[in-house]
């Protein structure tokens, strides 16, 4: 799936990747790949700046630790981030239900007239 197709959904995807628990930047990318069966493969260069932007917005927070002599930055959801994920998820379910009703070949679409 191309990055352009995911435009507008990046923040929600990153918040969802962090929902199970804290992850470092590359683990977030791997989580998105694994969670989507490899279909979502975001450019690495977009994920790190997006995580920093979410931190500035107060939706995630980061902590530095040490790993194999390297500094590691791990991200986790804040309460505001969890609330934003809940809202995003509800909005997506409504949107996808509406699009599925229209694109799903008429199944479940109410007859007119």
């Amino acid at each position: 799936m191309r990055a352009e197709a995911l435009k507008g959904h990046l923040d929600g995807l990153l918040l969802a990747a962090l929902e199970p628990g804290p992850l470092h930047g590359y683990a977030v990318i791997e989580q998105l790949r694994a969670g989507s069966g490899g279909r979502i493969d975001l450019p690495t260069g977009t994920v790190y700046p997006a995580l920093h932007r979410l931190e500035r917005a107060g939706l995630v927070r980061s902590r530095w630790s040490s790993e194999s002599g390297r500094r590691r930055r791990c991200y986790e959801l804040t309460p505001d981030g969890s609330a934003a994920l809940h809202t995003t998820r509800a909005g997506w379910e409504e949107f996808s239900a509406a699009v599925t009703a229209l694109l799903g070949g008429g199944r479940g679409r109410p007859a007119i007239g």
């Binding site: 470092h24 930047g25 590359y26 683990a27 791997e30 450019p43 690495t44 260069g45 977009t46 790190y48 700046p49 920093h52 932007r53 500035r56 917005a57 107060g58 790993e67 194999s68 002599g69 390297r70 500094r71 590691r72 930055r73």
Partner: protein, 223 residues
């Protein structure tokens, strides 16, 4: 820096190439490089675990992260926000001190006991102070959590910061040019301090203006 020194040579070279293209305050630049260093090692280790030979795993990790210019460009907005916020905070922190030193030079004999309205009228660059203060509040809002809802907060932040720098510089030039007219013999010592502070800020403003304009050039065209 220590992490980069202990990195794989290819990763260290890649990070140097990225670092040369990052424009912004030193601390956030270093944090970005440290984070990328860890990410690249993790990516290489992941490829290696999947059966790719070690040397090729590093090359695959570097390919995955993209070209250094493209990767650095992704951080331009974040670094511009950091530049705008730090510069603005520096002006908001030092501005009142410089202002008070000028006030003490202009209005001797316990100015804090004077009528506030009379005192305000005694300040020769009051409109510039007001412009800088309002711009400062707007920059802090645009570069804080609220600003993340704005479109291009980095651009708004840098423009606001440039307004603050221009107002402070204009104010310093006016005060320095007219100091001889309003400084009284009794306040020569404090006036000397005010003149020194304004001269130092004027010099710092030239650097800050250059840094902000450089950060602005790294942002992709608006649209």
């Amino acid at each position: 820096m220590a992490a980069r020194q202990s990195a794989e040579p290819a990763i260290a070279a890649y990070l140097d190439a990225v670092g040369q293209r990052l424009v912004g305050p030193r601390a956030p630049r270093q944090a970005i490089l440290d984070e990328l260093c860890d990410g690249l090692h993790e990516a290489a280790a992941t490829h290696h675990r999947r059966g790719v030979p070690a040397a090729e795993a590093v090359a695959a990790a570097l390919r995955e992260f993209g070209s250094p210019p493209a990767l650095a460009a992704g951080f331009a907005g974040e670094l511009a926000v950091a530049r705008a916020r730090r510069t603005t905070l520096a002006y908001l922190a030092t501005g009142p001190l410089i202002g008070l030193s000028w006030l003490s030079a202009i209005v001797p004999n316990r100015w804090w006991l004077r009528d506030p309205i009379t005192l305000l009228h005694a300040i020769p660059v009051l409109p510039l102070i007001a412009v800088a203060a309002v711009a400062g509040m707007l920059v802090l809002a645009a570069t804080g959590p609220i600003g993340s809802r704005l479109r291009e907060p980095e651009r708004h932040g840098l423009v606001g910061t440039l307004v603050i720098i221009a107002a402070a510089s204009f104010g310093d030039v006016i005060l320095l040019a007219t100091a001889a007219h309003f400084v009284q013999p009794a306040t020569q010592t404090v006036a000397a301090m005010a003149i020194t502070a304004s001269t130092a800020r004027l010099t710092a403003s030239a650097t800050a203006m250059t840094q902000c304009l450089r950060s602005h050039r790294t942002l992709s065209p608006a649209g």
